[in-house]
Symmetry: C2
Subunit: 592 residues, 2 copies
Amino acid sequence: MSLNILNKINNPRDLKILSREELHTLSTEIRDVLIKRVSTTGGHFGPNLGMVEATIALHYVFNSPVDKFVYDVSHQSYTHKILTGRKEAFTNPEKFKTVTGYTEPKESEHDFFTVGHTSTSISLACGLAKGRDVVGGKENIVAIIGDGSLSGGEAYEGLNNAAASGKNIIILVNDNDMSIAENHGGLYQNLALLRETEGKAEHNFFKSFGFDYHFVKDGNDIDSLIETFKKVKDTNHPVVIHMHTVKGKGYDDAEVNKEAFHWVMPFDLETKSPLFSGEYVKSYGDITSDFLVEKARKDKSIVGITAATPNIVGLAGLRNEFKDQYVDVGIAEEHAIALASGIAKRGGKPVASFISSFIQRTYDQLSQDLAINNNPATILVNWGGISGGDVTHLGLFDIPLISNIPNIVYLAPTTKEEHIAMMEWAIEQDNHPVAIRVPNMEVVSTGIEVEPNFDELDKYVKVEEGSEVAIIGLGSFFHLGKKVANRLKEIGINATLINPRFITGVDEELLNELQKDHKVVITLEDGILNGGFGEKISRFYSDKNMRVLNFGADKEFTDSVALEVLYERYHLTEKLIVADIEKVLEDIKTLA
Amino acid sequence: MSLNILNKINNPRDLKILSREELHTLSTEIRDVLIKRVSTTGGHFGPNLGMVEATIALHYVFNSPVDKFVYDVSHQSYTHKILTGRKEAFTNPEKFKTVTGYTEPKESEHDFFTVGHTSTSISLACGLAKGRDVVGGKENIVAIIGDGSLSGGEAYEGLNNAAASGKNIIILVNDNDMSIAENHGGLYQNLALLRETEGKAEHNFFKSFGFDYHFVKDGNDIDSLIETFKKVKDTNHPVVIHMHTVKGKGYDDAEVNKEAFHWVMPFDLETKSPLFSGEYVKSYGDITSDFLVEKARKDKSIVGITAATPNIVGLAGLRNEFKDQYVDVGIAEEHAIALASGIAKRGGKPVASFISSFIQRTYDQLSQDLAINNNPATILVNWGGISGGDVTHLGLFDIPLISNIPNIVYLAPTTKEEHIAMMEWAIEQDNHPVAIRVPNMEVVSTGIEVEPNFDELDKYVKVEEGSEVAIIGLGSFFHLGKKVANRLKEIGINATLINPRFITGVDEELLNELQKDHKVVITLEDGILNGGFGEKISRFYSDKNMRVLNFGADKEFTDSVALEVLYERYHLTEKLIVADIEKVLEDIKTLA
């Protein structure tokens, strides 16, 4: 492809001298670059294709970085990156890894926040605007938010406050009529009505807050965008621009299959097949999904709940087959937990499933709406664990977050059979809110059914009986514990191996018993150590004659650091763990 | 006062046979009871006075507990309690303590949730409605929410989902034009417009979601309420009833001074003076307030932020004196944190102040909007600590919540001078988000200024140098540590006393040094042990030859349990602590 115009653009300033025709050509070139790049590397596809023209028009009219753009979730910021000095990260395969998939202040003065969770842009923009006003500035502050992100409570709190600020703030609503999945909620009926009526419908969500409201019929038309942006630039009051764009614009399949093309794995543009195929292996998500479908067929009171991510949290099956037993609440995790609590209170059997990183959005609801009320809802936590992923999507924090709330029973299955048994128990019992940390690894199946009875809380299971060293391997790290035990055998130590099953409590009887013939207890958890599981074991033994080693992640935000690097850093390999154990045993010998 | 009608009411059924005139008399009787009772015991005054008529009308028209009422925050549920078999708790002083100030399922089958945080009722009601639909029921589900509570994100998520549910759910908006303080936000302009136009304004927030909207001009008029409730009873679709009530209705002073009478201490109805007067003692809130006012006068970039509770979090001064340097975001803690992050990013100096129990509402924003971005905002956490308060307002959880998030520096001052120094440092530095746990106790002042320099993170201060036993007393519990040290002296132990200052890290150098001549380290923290400060010390020593005792609260929800009882239960008296220390020392001797 030829990039005649793009080649000349190294900075938003270069854009401002282009003719309208050149701007149109630029949009075609950028769209080509995006399609090629994202099909090669994977990434957010649909959201970025829909935002090409609007991003060009924004940079044409406003003066970034003095005028400031705040992208919500920021998975629609690729064109922004291309126009602000980072185009090589999209055109040159060798530089593909030099930028993240989200806005990142470390990359550019045109980015203001590291963002990856939704619904935050308006509030952050309110902050920039208020900072401007007290420090003394005159720039435009522009929040760019998708319609999907408007379903989250923080976005509403932002709208409500922005509307009353009485100062320059411009909120660009990118309405492509899609969240990751389809939208749900009364607001979306209003957006649809506003699209139909070209912004003229009687009841207008944005106008009800008092915003100066502008509608852009074709948000992929640079000319009308420029016209509107010019109109509101340097406004002295809060403005909403509601533009209708096409998600996946310019790539037919993405325009049709909006959800599948929201985020893609690398694929071949010609054959349209994935680049890394290999055999499909069943995931824990599939196991969740199959189990829930079977349960729901037999029991009409089972209700699956997702906050806009059904397919990646094991609710694909319910979504496909059931209408009344499946609820997508939008990106509204807080509502999801309260809804689950209410359903359980009324005798239904709710199963609310989340990604670890997003359950962070609902601490107060877990505590107040659910735990204090002790309603027997089932919560599934997916993707918990150390990962090489984006800093905004780490699965490190769910154990400290959930396990320190009274009343909630947080379980950590180690195998397929245990996961199924725990779901079965959680759904059928009615004494506790139960959360299950779905293993974040390849499926391990023993073929041996596990009895769905976890009534006796905090009862750990001794899987191998040994002496001197005891290994408590939590959830998916039980298997690491097994490897450690095997390696210890090689040096003559017959370790005890324990599957604790319960994250939320300490098996005092078993731990006391270990004191008889064990010198060292180690804990393994796939998450941050601070506030986590291992510290409880350390506390239990802290006034006793036992050495404890806690293995897990350090308290730090990591951004796309390879898993192997992190495992080395945190001593999470059997080799490093055994070395640490040997060192402690040596210390004990020295003291004695 | 005579309670001719109320005397006949033991159950909502008794209400249904009354004439309209008797209902009116009943409302007068109940209002008298409320004024008398709340002036005697203290409690929520204004919110309950405004809801007398609506509660009578609700119980007259609907059939509780089959039809279900969900009260938001539920500090407006006293009349509901009076009508549902609990009137003696309001009429008989000996029984005043038999009910809590909020709805409580353990008290009555007419209550469905233990509630004390705002903005949850619509989502919880959605749950009851969904449960009804999957289990098979036909009852009405009614959420009752004040206008102030509508500023929280969870309420919006609830509205958005309720509107799209397509089933029976009735949302009664009790619009008294007040939050605890005045309302802030675009929504409130719309509510005002709707009140002025009697619900006929062009732009209608509720209609924009698609709700079937009904306006009740006088929400203290039983007849029009009954008429409207009858109209919507057994509806097959989502309904909003927007009623205008008078907060504090029927008590002149409360109608005028709505904020002061939101929640009252006991007072004399005739003289109107408080029953427990005594000399006014300056609180840490006053110190915060005075300090911020002085700073803000000199520095126009200081911005105080509150989520609807200015006066109890040390922002009264800013509120009174400044317009542009004070922001009340409504009950929108999430927005408050993102706003602070944005202001700091733009070079302003935000100070966002919360009650411990409410900062729970903003975990994801602390993590994502603030900590990942590492913006130097100052967060104040008030009322953290073990308390005899309501289960929904415990200050136990802020340490696990905040201290396990990377990048945030969480400080625990022990005196007035340290609190001031920490605020000064937090506001002026620009390397970290800093949270300060404002001591929850009587002010301790040494008169000796503390240098506002905490640049060297995790540096503990050894206040008294001793041996054998080291006491690490965090924040307000430093003073308990001092008492323990004094008592240990009596038995011949000269303990080391440490003020850690930093909640978020471990002073490895100092802790290592203690190993030389100390056998036992104890930690004292005013909060839940699980996930807290002490466990980090236990983990640090877990592979070393040191005994550690962690003192703090157990993982449990307590509801109005007296502080003395809790201190005994958790061994938080110097006597019990010293006994525990002696026991460990004895154990060590036995082993040696």
